[in-house]
Symmetry: C2
Subunit: 234 residues, 2 copies
Amino acid sequence: MRKYRLVADQLLEEITHGKYKNELRLPTEEDLIVAYSVSKSTLRNAIDVLVDKSILYRVQGSGIYIRKPIYPDTITINSIKGFKEEFKNKKIHSKVIKLEQVEADAEISFKLQCEIGTPVYFVNRIRYVENEPFSIEYSYFNKNIIPYLGKEIAEKSIYNYIENDLNLSIGFADKYISVEKLSKIDSDHLQLNESDPSMVTEETVFLSNGKVFNHSKVIHNYKYAKFFALAKNR
Amino acid sequence: MRKYRLVADQLLEEITHGKYKNELRLPTEEDLIVAYSVSKSTLRNAIDVLVDKSILYRVQGSGIYIRKPIYPDTITINSIKGFKEEFKNKKIHSKVIKLEQVEADAEISFKLQCEIGTPVYFVNRIRYVENEPFSIEYSYFNKNIIPYLGKEIAEKSIYNYIENDLNLSIGFADKYISVEKLSKIDSDHLQLNESDPSMVTEETVFLSNGKVFNHSKVIHNYKYAKFFALAKNR
DNA sequence: TTGGATTTGTGCGTATGTATA
DNA sequence: CTATACATACGCACAAATCCA
């Protein structure tokens, strides 16, 4: 693995294991450079990772500080984690309502930025957290990029499959968040009333090479859905 | 201004003015380094700015590409813009319902990370876009950091005042997003029905020196509120 | 209040690694 | 397999913000 990630991982572990529990400020860049035997740019890359994760913040001329932990049980918008990863300290499972192969029509081809007629997988899943229905996912995958997708995969983690089995590198995602009133069928799935509100996210997910492989619309139970984002001023 | 920002600004202007309209790919890093007469690290910092703004994306071994524009009329979660800045191509105005100085109680002091009893400003505003009620803001400012706040400022732009008049540097913000049903008073302000849904954001805003100066709860009209975020995989 | 010391930010240049074409 | 192009890593100098005597 790249050096700056090793440093970031190690630093994070030291922080979470209380190495700096009595101080808000980390050692200076120069001290950390010596401690980890890396160059200035490598150390700064490592710190950048933890700043983006809301673990640390920097103050020019002053130092690098440890942040208070963010509110727990929130979905982090800035990062791309699978459902499993997001709730890894909770009991979660998924029910696959439908998984089929179709050809992209005009709307799907637009969302997946591919040709009309491209073979795609459609997946409809319900996600449960602690046995409560948490969200309903309507998801499309470009079959030219994801050659195979089965129910046995969709019941576990599609993202884990893509990254570890297919060895593809997920790059970035556009996420749109809005509020909609529930349809009859979605309200049934979520055990809510029709026309109750829902938090809706619509995501376009890109591989590191810039190709769109996935588009998802996720209907969240409004009682549980809470999102977190770190905003930076630049 | 710092060189990498000048390069980022210039590059963005060239992109938006169609210099690269016939190509998806920018010139190579090396070419851009020569074109702008800067070092590699300066150029990379400039590109980073535009990547964070969802203008560009990079593919190792391939090139730097221009992204399709994001969906318009969305609020960007990743960045800290004032209301005015976010809707700068729209007609917007604000109505100040209340502006008063109070002492921080337990809850406010927790949210502003200050002592109980600290003098704070409380501001309650309604924001209009194209004369439609868009959101209701309940906001607290630490008076030890923002020594003065008046109605004449709150009717325009508090953020503009803080950055340009007080010359303070806004650093980062934690944002939480959830859905709540409207209270009677909020539904009246938004011209909606009581118990209609609303998109709620709760923000803690930090100066560059890490001090909390503002905490806001904003109730958005669910019909108009649409948020955008760029997620990165790291 | 000031000014020097400390600490992070920016900028330069180069070499090598890694993914893409 | 080779060439291309971005990613990582090293090290140094100076700028800018903060801190403190």
